[in-house]
Symmetry: C2
Subunit: 354 residues, 2 copies
């Protein structure tokens, strides 16, 4: 049976389908619970969340499902930034702020203890599964999670990154191909060198590690999920496919943009957050491109552009929002995640029977 393997047993799920832990409000408790209740693994994207909001969301998810679910967090980074760099960045962003009539300056409230406090929440709530992006957790941290029987998932964009994850002791690895929407999980080596297509990345990673591999990047339906299993992955993780679901908390302009775009309209850009991410090309990414090399890194730039993205959504100006999207938007659908799961599982049954 296509849906039974080590991974589904370890995660205690019926189908090897994982909803990606997209940050920024996309993964509502309703979405996470819908995917888990349908037999997959829903994921709360807690990367940017305060411990308080995270706790509330986890409590809400547990009210809506008794099935396993995951919480995704970001390995923290603390880049240096000079006053001059900040001044330059704000200068580059000024025209957008003026256009949106934003009068207050963005504040940089970097919370150096956020990650520690997020991990406490995960331990306290005994979240079934914890996934990590932007780095490898320490062996000590993984040990603590293991003692609480929390399953851990790392993220890799190259074979080397997958090996580093396995060495750290995570239970399984997401291998993120270049088709993926949103942020690259790259943490070791140059970002450009890590843009490996899913079709190439999965078999190479599977051959080099012994823990289960989860395919991600450009997968949008039962054909892609079953193809991932054929390539040697034990599950597929999908992001863009769930952004347009009814349960998703994505802004309506974001959903509409995905539903109406084509495969040749996305670009890799770091002008929104300081870290390369794939989204639908728009006025903001086009105009800011000339500054791309001189802008501060993640998460500084992310904080600097936050008010612009929020205000743009409020004023219905998608051309100034971050419209994260993978390379397979023609397969996007506006429907409930529950219905999508049922139809997709039926599609895999058909495809896997030839």
């Amino acid at each position: 049976m296509w849906n039974e393997n080590n991974l589904t047993q370890m995660l205690k799920i019926n189908y090897p389908i994982i909803q990606a832990g997209m940050a920024g409000g996309v993964t509502t408790p309703e979405l996470v619970a819908a995917v888990s209740n349908a037999g997959g693994l829903g994921t709360l994207g807690a990367g940017y969340m305060s411990p308080e909001k995270m706790s509330q969301a986890i409590v809400e998810i547990k009210k809506q499902t008794t099935k396993p679910f995951a919480v995704n967090v970001f390995i923290p980074e603390y880049p240096e930034v000079t006053d001059e760099e900040l001044l330059n960045a704000n200068q580059s962003l000024r025209a957008f702020r003026e256009e949106l009539q934003l009068t207050t300056k963005p504040t940089l409230n970097q919370d150096d203890l956020l990650f520690e406090r997020q991990m406490e929440v995960i331990l306290n709530h005994e979240v079934p599964v914890c996934s990590f992006t932007f780095g490898v957790p320490s062996k000590e941290r993984l040990h603590v999670l293991k003692e609480k029987k929390i399953i851990t998932i790392g993220t890799a964009t190259t074979v080397n990154e997958a090996v580093l994850n396995e060495e750290s002791g995570v239970d399984m690895i997401v291998a993120q191909g270049s088709e993926a929407g949103g942020h690259r999980g790259t943490f070791h080596g140059a970002f450009e060198a890590s843009m490996i297509g899913t079709m190439s990345l999965i078999p190479q990673v599977v051959d080099q590690v012994s823990i289960p591999v989860i395919a991600a990047g450009g997968i949008m339906d039962g054909r892609g999920i079953f193809a991932s299993l054929v390539l040697g992955a034990q599950a597929a993780q999908l992001g863009t496919a769930f952004v347009t679901s009814l349960e998703s908390g994505a802004k309506e302009q974001h959903k509409e943009a995905i539903l109406n775009t084509t495969e040749d309209q996305t670009v890799m850009t770091s002008v929104f957050s300081g870290k390369p991410a794939r989204g639908i090309q728009n006025q903001f990414s086009k105009k800011m491109k000339e500054h791309e090399g001189t802008l501060p890194g993640y998460p500084i730039l992310n904080a600097l552009t936050q008010d612009i993205r929020k205000e743009a959504a409020k004023r219905n100006r998608p051309e100034l929002m971050s419209l994260w999207c993978g390379q397979n938007p023609r397969l996007s659908q506006k429907q409930s995640a529950t219905e999508w799961m049922v139809e997709t599982i039926a599609q895999i049954e058909r495809v896997s029977n030839g």
Copy 2:
């Protein structure tokens, strides 16, 4: 059965496995015949070939197999180039010529009638299958081929390009994902926008055209071939997998480079030919990168660098050769194409039975 569909019937082949028509001497008659004799479709990469050499190769292939085979040709381009551009390009290349002690200047013998004469060879020899790269053949030309019962295959890198191919009247389409080694087939729209991963490209193309689709890009074994069929393709086309075969005419340094590289070592570069292509990063592509924007287009630059690439191979200097390679080199093998076909077909049998 995984190996029976419209495409295998139309091409009269036993297995939906196509060896890509790589130009530059890789596709020897031995390689083409080995793949066709094993039940796949071998392809002579005739893009750069004189009609005389093409005729000889076709005669030789016919001596070695009675099975169908294909010949690949390039839709011609005639870019303008000024004397100043040529001077600048030769200036950029001078250090490499001196290093290799090349004393003669490269000559630009553009043959405006090459394509016409290549097509005459294909018609005269009644080649079973003709595939096209870098554009769409005219309806008139396809009509003439059809009258001779020659099956035609176009190449697309986006859904739009696939639709243009179908409208022109080709019988089937190769959809080339961004993982592919060698030249991009892109002919409509910006090259950057056409870098779509195979996992995303195939289902989107399949959903938008009604003729058979052939998956290409990052496919190196039975897992990739069967995954392509799952995604909706009716065959897979493999290039890099056959470059390292014993029958391949690729330079030994090229074969060794592929066998010893990893997925994160290839780059897209247009400094060898004037057209973007994926190869293993080396001294030539690194040093020439600064000139990339100002160099003349394809095929001018290709002619200007030809003596450098040839002399580098002679002197065993792979750092100055074009080492075309896809993003899945860890799966490359040094073995006969016949043996590879037998093992790969057995692997697909295993994979397709779950």
